[in-house]
């Protein structure tokens, strides 16, 4: 018995030892001795260490503010903000996708329309009431990523991506690539977020303000099956995934993300549909060069949709209205630091390799796909980032399976149109 008691005591000691470190909690959220503590969350797991360093640099410049920089891991079941809030903490400023401001977190943020940085950007994201609540943290874009060397060899010389402004010209290009000895010009990866959130939302860019299309869908007044633009994008998709051109044509669905990027990266294929982040996967293979083609929707070379690339804010920072005024002010300071301070600018573009939404940030990303998006932004050759106008979670989870079924030819286009219309009617 004595032995067991000894064992118990020993183990208790271990417990109490581990407890020591944590018992001195610094009373996280309250302002103690004039110092403000804030929690800022980052949803892009890959920039976690840069995010932490940014917080340290900011604190060095603002000794009266303590920043706890938390990064979420990708694929977590409960998102970071919900988790921290449910465990009793107040997140002062959260990174989220732009559609969250009008949907899931529509009551979360404070009005940022009076902030000075609005002068430097057009990408501030509005909430449901039409006031700017989202600070544009990153600009990203998507289109048809192509391997420059392969395409230049096929066309025999210099290649201007914006010369491909009709579907027929795209087909012609694919044929040329095939003639040049590339058996499968396209490696089409079918991740749910890619085929649904990105590819299949493009049709809402047919209106100057994509929200009008979304409103028509909700009202049930838009007939997709007879809508030319909606059909046009799927005509182009049919071309891209067809067994004639697509590496995976005989079984178009599957976990092809890595393989598709390796294929295009090595030049075994020429094209894939993805965004500027694809470079991370492409560059793993070789030092080839890459660029973007617009996704053509029809055969009219003057259609703006055929001549522009979708780009826009994909992550925004939102300040919590439940935080104290001091905390909100501290968070605003952090935003100003990101826009105006040299170190903040450096963190965003040079360290984290993010395309800045702000004109005054003269740094350039070295990633060629990012640079292509930045150039398109400057040349005014961009369309809105269409997924920002839909509930991305719903599209990725509810609608993506039907879009994938369409790609696998297990569902007709008319059926797909009905599914999307039915989903929107249920949204009222």
């Amino acid at each position: 018995m004595k032995k067991t008691i000894g064992l118990f005591l020993a183990s208790m000691m271990v417990i109490s030892l581990t407890a020591c470190g944590s018992s001195k909690n610094e009373g996280s959220n309250t302002a103690a001795n004039g110092k403000v503590s804030i929690i800022i969350t980052n949803g892009k797991g890959e920039i976690a260490s840069q995010w932490e360093q940014a917080a340290k640099d900011f604190m060095a410049a603002n000794p009266d503010i303590t920043v706890e920089a938390v990064s979420g891991a990708v694929g977590e079941t409960i998102n970071l903000v919900d988790k921290l809030t449910a465990s009793g903490k107040t997140v002062t400023m959260a990174m989220m996708s732009p559609d969250s401001i009008t949907n899931k977190y529509k009551d979360f943020g404070i009005d940022l329309s009076a902030e000075k940085w609005n002068e430097e950007t057009v990408y501030g994201v509005k909430d449901a009431n039409g006031v700017i609540a989202g600070f544009p943290f990153s600009i990203e874009g998507f289109g048809l990523v192509y391997n420059k060397k392969v395409v230049e060899k096929a066309v025999g010389g210099d290649f201007d991506p914006f010369s491909i402004n009709t579907r027929d010209k795209l087909k012609e290009l694919l044929d040329k690539i095939q003639v040049s000895g590339v058996k499968y010009p396209v490696a089409y990866q079918t991740e749910n977020w890619s085929v649904a959130n990105h590819y299949s939302t493009q049709f809402i860019n047919q209106a100057e303000d994509p929200n009008t299309i979304v409103d028509q869908l909700k009202a049930g007044t838009l007939d997709l099956a007879s809508n030319d633009v909606w059909n046009g994008y799927y005509d182009t998709l049919d071309l891209l995934v067809s067994a004639q051109y697509n590496k995976y044509g005989e079984r178009p669905l599957g976990k092809y993300y890595d393989d598709a990027h390796v294929s295009v990266g090595k030049g075994e294929s020429a094209l894939l549909f993805n965004g500027n982040w694809a470079y991370d996967s492409l560059q793993a293979v070789s030092g080839e060069e890459f660029g973007f083609l617009p996704v053509p929707v029809d055969n009219n070379p003057d259609n703006p949709l055929n001549n522009k690339i979708a780009a826009g804010p994909t992550n925004v920072l939102v300040i919590n209205n439940a935080a104290t005024v001091e905390q909100q002010e501290a968070a605003k300071k952090f935003l100003d630091w990101l826009v105006y301070d040299q170190k903040g600018q450096d963190f965003l573009v040079n360290q984290a390799q993010i395309i800045s939404a702000f004109k005054n940030n003269s740094n350039k990303v070295t990633n060629p796909l990012g640079a292509a998006i930045a150039e398109a932004v400057q040349a005014d050759k961009t369309l809105p980032f269409s997924s920002n106008f839909v509930k991305v979670e719903d599209w990725g989870s509810i609608l993506a399976p039907d879009i994938q079924k369409y790609i696998a030819q297990k569902e007709s286009r008319a059926e797909l149109a009905k599914v999307i219309e039915a989903y929107y009617k249920g949204q009222n």
Partner: protein, 294 residues
């Protein structure tokens, strides 16, 4: 068999032996469970939104959710396949390992190693195999149907999950079977040998009946693991292609945390709980009876 006379003394030993477990079990499981049950009767779109009483509406929505039932049917198929195959393979491995081979420990250790890797990572490793390896083998040997990887076809993707589950769990079950097998008394086996029983006979008449307690444990574990499979499902197929391999746990997570329909997801989780409780309860009840009889 314990029969303390005084009530106080009995309470004392009850508390001493079971008190700590009851307390910690309540903290970790019972209290959150009851609170979670309460949440199914409220409207909750995210863990943060204020609670409103919603009656049975979440359960009505859950019962009407065809994706939930589809995923449940698929899970039942998965359960049948894995429970049978894992237990057979686990027992065969345990039998082989204890059959008098040298290097027993070496084999036992290495066959158990898949368990050292967590489910998520395991899924990613196997993705390599189904997406990159099998196609490259197919290409080299000219087998056309292997060229495109398994995860894009709904049937092959389903069997891919089954294979990885077997691969992961067979070694675990083997360990439990080994513990049972070495507990089979040697004198009984010797007596059977002297009586002229051959290997197959000894296995059926002597070993298997004595292994019933082990099977109670392994069948229960495989049953419960299969019903609640999530990690491998998530990291290997992600429910695809087109939702054809979404098992019920994944469906619940999708509903609650991705589609932000927390109340309904929670209600679906409780329906799942009720069904699994019923099935495993019957299994344990009947096999415990067998245990007594054996």
């Amino acid at each position: 068999m314990i029969s303390e006379k005084s009530f106080l003394k009995r309470l004392g030993s009850q508390l001493f032996f079971t008190g700590p477990t009851i307390l910690l079990f309540a903290i970790a499981v019972l209290v959150p469970f009851v609170y979670g049950l309460y949440l199914t009767f409220t409207n909750m779109s995210s863990p943060l939104s204020p609670l409103e009483f919603a009656g049975l509406s979440n359960y009505r929505t859950a019962f009407a959710d065809s994706r939930f039932w589809d995923s449940l049917i698929l899970t039942v198929k998965f359960v049948v396949a894995t429970v049978i195959l894992i237990n057979i393979l686990g027992f065969v491995l345990a039998y082989l390992v204890t059959s008098g081979v040298k290097l027993q420990n070496f084999f036992r250790t290495s066959l158990f190693t898949p368990n050292l890797i967590g489910g998520l990572v395991l899924g990613y490793i196997w993705q390599f195999i189904f997406v990159q390896t099998l196609p490259s083998i197919g290409e080299k040997l000219g087998i056309e149907w292997l060229r495109l990887g398994w995860l894009g076809d709904e049937h092959l993707a389903f069997w891919a999950i089954v294979i990885v589950s077997i691969w992961q769990s067979a070694g675990y079950m083997m360990i439990i079977f080994v513990a049972g097998l070495v507990n089979v008394p040697k004198d009984v086996m010797e007596a059977a040998t002297i009586d002229g029983a051959n290997g197959w006979h000894k296995l059926r008449k002597v070993t298997l009946p004595l292994m019933v307690p082990s099977f109670v444990v392994t069948v229960f574990l495989t049953l419960k693991n299969a019903f609640m499979v999530y990690d491998i499902n998530y990291s290997l197929t992600g429910g695809g292609p087109y939702d054809s391999t979404t098992m019920v746990s994944m469906q619940v997570v999708k509903k609650a945390f991705i589609e932000n329909n927390y109340g309904v997801g929670q209600a679906e989780a409780f329906i799942l709980f009720a069904i699994v409780a019923l099935i495993t309860g019957l299994q344990v009840y009947f096999s415990k009876k067998m245990e007594v009889a054996a």
